[in-house]
Amino acid sequence: MVKSHVYPSMTQLLLFLFLSPLIVFVIQLIFGTKLPRKGDFIALLVAVICCVSSSILFVVVWNQSPVTYQWNWFIVGKTIFHIRFLLNNLSVIMLLLVSFISLLVHVYSLFYMRNEVFYHRYWAYLGLFTFAMIGVILSDNLLILYFFWELVGFSSYLLIGFWFKKSSAIQANKKAFLVNRFGDMGFLIAIGILYAHFHQLTITELFAENTLSKYFQQDAFWVHLVGISFFIAAMAKSAQFPFHVWLLDAMEGPTSVSALIHAATMVAAGVFLLIRVNPIFTPSVLLIIAIVGTFTALFAALLACVQTDLKKILAFSTISQLGFMICAIGIGSCSSALFHLVTHAFFKCLLFLCAGIVIYYYKSLFQQQNVNLDAQDIRNMGNLRKTLPLVFITMLIASAALIGFPFTSGALSKENILIHLWYWAVQKEGWYYMFPIILLLATATTIIYTTRFIYKIFIARPTIELLCKDKLVNSLHPLPFSVKIPLFLLSLCCFFVLFAWSPFSLAHSWLLNGFLTGIVYHSGILTTFINVFIISILLISILFYRFSITFSHRFYIFNMQVPQYHAFLNHCRNHITYVPIGGFIRLLNIHRRRTDIVIANIFLMISNLANWVDRKIMDQVAYCSSYIALKISLICSNFDIYGIDGIIHGITTGIRNFSIVLRLFQRGNVQKYLSVFFVTLLLLLLLFYLF
């Protein structure tokens, strides 16, 4: 057992980091309303402390030998269960990520949530979530990991339903909770099987090299089952294809919550789990993982193209990017999955925070103007770049990172996944080439939907006359500091410098070098070749830019209502040079209108088809399965009512009837007493006489 003797104070630091969010939760729940400012300063202070202490842990542990801490928990028979924390490269990077983003969201929420009635409760829930997430990251014992896994789901449930007076929010949090519970079932099954076979649940010992490989040869069936169960847990948490339904409804929660939980951290927990238990996966399970991930990446990206709700577009985008990560795990490249997880957390959190400001702006505007319009619908938006320039710039940076624009962090991580996938396909040959092709298509689709919403919100002329006037919302002019700081810091994190010294060579990425496991493609002779490959990918993506920006420019026209269509088309013809995003695009934007419209139509058709599949078939499948489940439960309940309850009721009714007979003699009627007495006496006499 490796114990830290070098840094004796680290145990206290770790415990402090671990428990302080829980203390915030308790304090806020009990004293929340009585404290000045409803106690938000406590939550903020703890978030700062968490961030600082996880940075210290990060500096101490990164690229050093892993450190474990353990305390005895309880003993069953001869097995001792430990509360065991593991600090290795994986957990400290996640710790830093979670606490940093949590801090920024805390700062942002100071402004964003300030008018809420249940302001104190919000901080309590955030504290609970941070506690649970840190628990998931640190635990080295599967059982404890499972507890925190559930707790993460529960705190997400609380936060989705934060506006509990909206019935849609209540429906949404119920749905999210139930889907997550289904995943937890997979986790529980996996734990059960592992415990039955290995009699311990400590991850590091379980996946030590001898145990697992020895077992793997004996009984392949159970190993497959464990792998699939873990994957089901991760699928539910990371909203992969059949389980992606909950994440959309989860957008009912406050936007700051969506940024923290449903974009950056909680949904990444599934990916994190898969990385953590990676050795258990057999090649066939890995293939399933890769298939699901790839499919989800494209499917969700296509769905994002036809959504009109801004937050739902971002949610689908999250699902798609998580698909990229899952796919990377499926091809056995955990390091690139983790890399993308980290970069994605920053830019997607930034996107959500910006979207929060945009929605806030429109909500206030619509309230001022006294119109009843959906503040989240991008069809109602437009021309915001002059009104909210800072938000425009930061959202542009985040979107650039999302689509993998060169010089951003997203470019590094996404290309890393694509390269690994490409080499994996080259090794396997045959139909395996489908994987990189599909993922490239997903990347292209990402560009399309991202350009679409950026263009619609910030550049295009608003479709509604009222919004053409530049109305300023007072509270956003100037942007408060608590909004500026997170936006600024997160935009910094979207650039490549933070992750690698060179924007094109992954060999210099400190983050990837921290996870050198298995085959590494960016070292040795291959490097030059890969650089060529990266450049070709860049060229391809530039080509995609050229096409997709014109696509999406065309394409969102088709999403508008018919009366506005012609007016808008005229407008576009007059201001066609006004369309592109910056000079770079302006150069590439050659207007071949006809072909564009045809291609855009085809594309739109595919997206609508995907949407139809999602709405009709997936929903039908869900309804069918719920119908079957209902029937089965009906049979069970009938058995319960007439079988089990029947026995119990039979016994009680028997006793009752017998007691009615007995009670006849005890009614206080003297004559009856005596008659019973005489009859009994006679019977006894008869008995004596006969025998």
Partner: protein
């Protein structure tokens, strides 16, 4: 002239049956009390009849003792009946049943 012992026993058993019948069927507590007296007297007749065969007349002494006891019992019982009537305004035993359900 000697009367056979069976004759006494027949009389007493008839008396006893009448007593039981009165006790079980009458809707008046006083009549039930009379039924009890019938049964007691049947027992007394038996005592007296069987005392013919014992030497020191213990049976007859017991009969006198029982008569006294019965008189005392009737006095107590009548007092109870009086109180019963005061309390319930009836002496029908079927209507005096606070133990059982109505």
């Amino acid at each position: 002239m000697l009367i056979d012992i069976q004759c006494y026993l027949i009389v007493s058993s008839i008396l006893f049956s009448i007593g039981i019948y009165a006790f079980l069927t009458k809707r008046n507590v006083v009549m039930m009390l009379i039924g009890i007296e019938f049964m007691i007297n049947a027992a007394i007749i038996n005592f007296v009849a069987f005392s013919k065969y014992d030497s020191n007349n213990e049976g007859q002494i017991m009969a006198i003792f029982i008569i006294i006891m019965a008189a005392a019992g009737v006095a107590v019982a009548l007092a109870i009946i009086l109180n019963l009537y005061k309390h319930y305004k009836t002496i029908d035993p079927n209507q005096v049943h606070e133990l059982g359900e109505k």
